[in-house]
């Protein structure tokens, strides 16, 4: 009866244990794994087997080969000194072969950073619909029909009651309708306006809306939260300036400016040489909004804010033209 793989392996193991020089190990390698070695012989006999046995025999021959190779390598390492190779010398300076690597879009990345920053401040991210009812987008936000304030949002309409949201503020209303205070939420999402596109105006863009409502929330809290956020988002301390502004759904309302992160406030192209970046709109929630969702404005106070994600990403990553975001050019996308 021919040697079984197991007996071959047992015999090799015994022989290797006695081989104490590299030459002896090499001799054993030739005996077992060489071109005319025991394993080659075993392989040569495979085609003679009945077809049904061939795959199994082949399989066990392969297993044997692996086991023998491992044993010999092990012993070789033990007795030291690598054997002479006949192969040409390797060139370890050949260039890298990079496994494929993809990239997350800079807008997604920026939204994640904003969501993470606000999470540390206890804000929970929620979604709202991109196609929205006029009621949530305008009416409940204290912007009645035929009011000229509507001109500030050049809106796409599907019909008289349905529109593409031009801001993420309707998200506030949807959350307040379904929950009671205390609330700390942000609503990131895609928005649409009938803007003619250029480097800084887009018919499609992204915003993050924020809302905090509780007993005793005041303007000083709003200043603190936005200052903390901007510091965290830009990774450095920034000066923050609040200036009066008007939004129908907040009062008092503010435009929030941040000292230019590019030039530190000295003036540069990014800040149009003003030293300041206009980054957010914010304010204390208007009592009419609380009444629209059934909160008692004498009991609860709160603040809301909104920021343009695309603009924040453009500043943070020094992107000169926002149209690059949606073109899909991988020479752009692979930079992030």
């Amino acid at each position: 009866m021919a040697d079984t793989p197991q007996t071959i392996l047992d015999e090799a193991r015994r022989a290797l244990a006695e081989a104490s020089t590299p030459a002896a190990v090499e001799a054993l390698r030739v005996r077992y794994l060489g071109r005319k070695g025991i394993l080659a012989d075993l392989m040569a006999r495979l085609p003679a087997l009945p077809p049904a046995e061939r795959p199994a025999a082949g399989r066990s021959a392969n297993e044997l080969k692996n086991a023998l190779t491992a044993l010999i390598e092990q012993r070789r390492a033990h007795v030291g000194e690598s054997p002479r190779r006949e192969a040409p010398p390797p060139d370890p300076t050949l260039p890298a072969v990079r496994p494929p690597r993809g990239h997350v879009h800079p807008i997604s990345r920026t939204i994640d950073e904003i969501v993470d920053a606000f999470r540390t401040l206890g804000f929970e991210a929620v979604d709202g619909p991109e196609v929205e009812l006029d009621y949530y987008n305008f009416e409940a936000l204290n912007i009645p029909a035929d009011h000229p304030a509507r001109d500030d949002w050049d809106t796409f309409y599907v019909n008289d009651r349905v529109l593409l949201r031009p801001h993420t503020s309707p998200g506030q209303i949807r959350v307040m309708e379904s929950r009671r205070p205390p609330l700390r939420i942000i609503v990131p999402g895609r928005c649409f306006r009938r803007d003619t596109e250029d480097a800084r105006h887009f018919a499609m863009f992204h915003q993050v809306e924020g809302l905090m409502v509780d007993e005793g929330v005041h303007f000083g809290d709003l200043k603190a939260v936005l200052h903390m956020f901007l510091r965290q988002f830009f990774g450095k301390d920034v000066k923050v300036r609040f200036e009066p502004d008007f939004f129908p759904f907040t009062e008092p309302s503010a435009q929030v400016n941040c000292s230019c992160v590019m030039c530190g406030g000295r003036g540069c192209r990014t800040c149009s040489y003003s030293g300041w970046l206009e980054l957010l709109g914010a304010g204390m929630v208007d009592p009419n909004v609380f009444e629209a969702v059934g909160y008692d404005p004498e009991r609860y106070t709160g603040f809301a804010f909104g920021m343009g994600v695309d603009r924040l990403a453009m500043i943070k990553y020094e992107i000169p033209d926002g149209r690059l975001f949606f073109q899909g050019d991988v020479r752009f996308l692979s930079q992030f």
Binding site: A56, R59, G122, E124, F156, R184, A224, F326
Partner: protein
């Protein structure tokens, strides 16, 4: 609104250079976008928000300047001498038939004017404000509008049939030619100024061509009136008209300035164009002049602003804004709102006034806030994991437009039979409908990159698609994940991507796969996936026709799944599963089957044969050629066999392999190669 720096100084004696005035106004809420020199003067471009129509004039801006500088504010003095007889009523008649659309109408007549150019000082002021000088009468009306915010209109009295002014609703089908030359057909909703026979002006929007002031005008009828803001806005929008008058009427004008403006404009017209003011006038008013009393509580101010602001300070700020303080004690201030501040009616409105003049920078930032834990949203977490997983596997995220043109590629989607939702007022036909798939856009990105020197790309997009639903106002917004690859064997790669995604999200259910699926695919090379019976997605190789349409040299593989269906079934928490104690053994098989036998059939057959010891069946390769009959192929597969409670013996493995082989032979006509 563009304002003249020198002009503002007529009404408020502030001592600030233009740049400093601009900065101070901006810091207190009246944002000056730019200021530019205009000869000796400066033009201030003031951004007046829709809540502050009182600042759409120089007197209003000067009032703000007075409030922030403390300098006194005054209205201009003028003298108005009426001549007479004839009296107004001898020469003209006024009737208001639509008091709901016109709560206040006044008219005066100046006889014997000499129409000609205005003096240089007036022309210069108008030009600083961006208004083209026309003639002395029209310029006077524009000047007074820019001064006090009241739009005015001058009619050539001789052109009014019957010397009559009738303020009424338009009749449907009536037409009027406006001063810009456009001809407008009226619907019947508009408020018009008419004479005895026809409309002569679209009230508060634009005057009519036929009654406008010309060089031949001798007698002028001057209108100073107030029209309903909503109706005015609808009229302007309906007919695509905009004017300085309409802009102001829509936002609301000071109801107490109308009569003053009429007198002021008449005085100015006579100063510039001569003529005599007839005695008497039309003064028709249908509403009352009440303005509200509002009380501001110190405690409420503290609650909202977080700072202590004595009622004394609040009262000083409010009266600086021209608001009458009626009463004050240590706890509250009661005021009467002036007629020009229609934006103030509630306590919160006063708190804002106090806060902005006091200065937002004097409101202290809270130094510590109570901590509140926030729960991460599982679907957001899942989406983020999906993005990172795909990027880690070589796919780059694209973001494309939600608005699309509904071409055949966009329509190739599995999700809905409804028509794509159209936007009523698109900017371009290229972006007119809401997308129902992200696959078409991703193919567009692929084509863009192919045309820009990056032929091989692996892409994904994670975004919403909008699917119309019967009986629902809002569409279903599905979070779609589309993946595109140029790699060899792309469809199998995409299935692998899906499998990895399911692993990452801890999906416990099996995904069912069947041949065929709707998408931009070759009909022979696509599949669809189901999860718990619902359509999870489709994948396939892009059809030749669509690849040609997009000028692609290759046919990429493309997949789209309903990501929310996956994430809703996700188990994001990890749990340990025991590692097998006993070793597995592997048996490889090569079987010859007919060409139409699919791997899925083979896999199902193998899995059913010996489920007790079969751990996995893996596809190895397909071979056609020598020794394989025509119409057949050889499939190589590997069986992984394991017993849970002991090491599987060689005999058991052989026996399992034989059972599998028999099953394949019985069910699929396979034979061992």
């Amino acid at each position: 609104m563009k304002a003249s720096y020198q002009w503002l100084k007529d009404y408020c004696a502030f001592d600030l250079p233009a740049h400093e005035l601009s900065a101070r106004l901006s810091h207190s809420g009246l944002n000056v976008d730019t200021f530019e020199p205009r000869g000796e003067d400066w033009m201030l471009d003031v951004e007046v928000k829709s809540n502050r129509p009182d600042c759409l004039c120089h007197l209003g801006i000067a009032r703000e300047a007075a409030a922030i500088t403390g300098a006194p504010w005054r209205r201009p003095d003028f003298e108005l001498i009426e001549a007479g007889p004839p009296a107004f009523e001898d020469r003209a008649s006024v009737r208001v038939d639509a008091p709901d659309l016109c709560p206040h109408y006044t008219a005066r007549v100046i006889a014997g004017v000499r129409v000609g150019p205005s003096p240089a000082w007036l022309q210069q002021r108008l030009e600083v404000c961006g208004i083209r000088p026309i003639n002395n009468v029209v310029d006077a009306t524009n000047y007074v509008m820019l001064e006090c915010g009241q739009p005015l209109h001058a009619f050539d009295l001789a052109r009014l049939d019957g010397a009559a002014v009738i303020v009424r609703r338009a009749a449907a089908g009536e037409t009027i030619t406006l001063i810009d030359g456009s001809r407008v057909e009226l619907t019947g909703q508009e408020c018009v100024i008419a004479d005895r026979t026809r409309p002569v002006a679209l009230a508060g929007v634009m005057g009519g061509l036929e009654s406008e002031i010309s060089d031949a005008t001798v007698d002028v009828l001057l209108e100073s009136a107030r029209f309903d803001p909503r109706n005015n806005r609808r009229t302007a929008r309906r007919h695509g008209l905009s004017s300085d008058s309409s802009y102001r009427y829509q936002r609301g004008i000071d109801p107490e300035i109308t009569a003053w403006a009429s007198r002021r404009a008449c005085a100015l017209i006579m100063e510039l164009a001569g003529g005599q003011l007839l005695s008497g006038s039309a003064q028709l008013r249908f509403d009352t002049a009440e303005t509200p009393e509002v009380t501001l509580r110190a405690a409420r101010t503290r609650l909202l602003l977080g700072i202590e602001l004595p009622t004394e300070t609040a009262a000083r700020i409010l009266s600086g804004l021209g608001i009458d303080v009626l009463a004050r004690d240590g706890r509250q201030v009661t005021v009467r709102i002036p007629s020009w501040r229609s934006d103030l009616s509630r306590e919160i409105d006063l708190i804002e006034e106090v806060a902005r003049i006091h200065g937002y920078d004097r409101i202290a930032e809270t130094t510590s806030m109570p901590v509140r834990p926030s729960a991460p949203d599982p679907s957001r977490t899942a989406e983020r994991r999906a993005r990172l997983l795909l990027a880690g596997q070589g796919f780059t995220e694209a973001m494309t437009y939600t608005l699309i043109a509904p071409d055949p590629v966009q329509r190739a989607q599995p999700w809905s039979d409804a028509e794509p939702i159209a936007v009523r007022n698109p900017v371009t036909n290229e972006r007119s409908h809401l997308r129902q798939t992200t696959m078409a856009n991703l193919l567009g990105v692929k084509a863009f990159n192919a045309a820009h020197g990056t032929p091989a790309v692996d892409l994904f997009e994670l975004g919403r698609v909008h699917l119309g639903q019967p009986d629902q106002e809002l569409p279903r917004e599905m979070t779609a994940l589309a993946v595109l690859t140029d790699r060899d064997d792309g469809l199998r790669v995409l299935k692998g991507v899906l499998a990895n995604l399911c692993d990452e999200l801890g999906l416990q259910e099996d995904i069912e796969e069947e041949a065929g699926g709707r998408g931009p695919f070759d009909a022979e090379e696509c599949v669809q996936f189901r999860l718990n019976g619902s359509l999870l997605g489709v994948a396939g190789v892009v059809s030749r026709a669509i690849a040609d349409r997009l000028d692609l040299n290759t046919r990429p593989a493309l997949m789209e799944i309903d990501l929310r269906l996956l994430t809703d079934n996700a188990h994001l928490a990890r749990a340990y599963r025991p590692i097998p104690t006993y070793p597995a053994t592997r048996r490889d098989l090569a079987v010859v089957v007919a060409d139409n036998v699919r791997w899925a059939d083979v896999r199902r057959c193998v899995e059913a044969a010996r489920p007790d010891v079969l751990e996995a069946v893996d596809y190895l390769s397909t071979y056609r050629g020598e020794a394989i009959p025509a119409g057949h192929k050889s499939l190589a597969l590997a069986l992984t066999l394991r017993c849970a409670d002991r090491t599987i013996t060689a005999a058991e493995a052989e026996q399992a392999r034989d059972v599998v082989l028999h099953a394949l032979s019985d069910r699929l006509g396979a034979r061992l190669r």
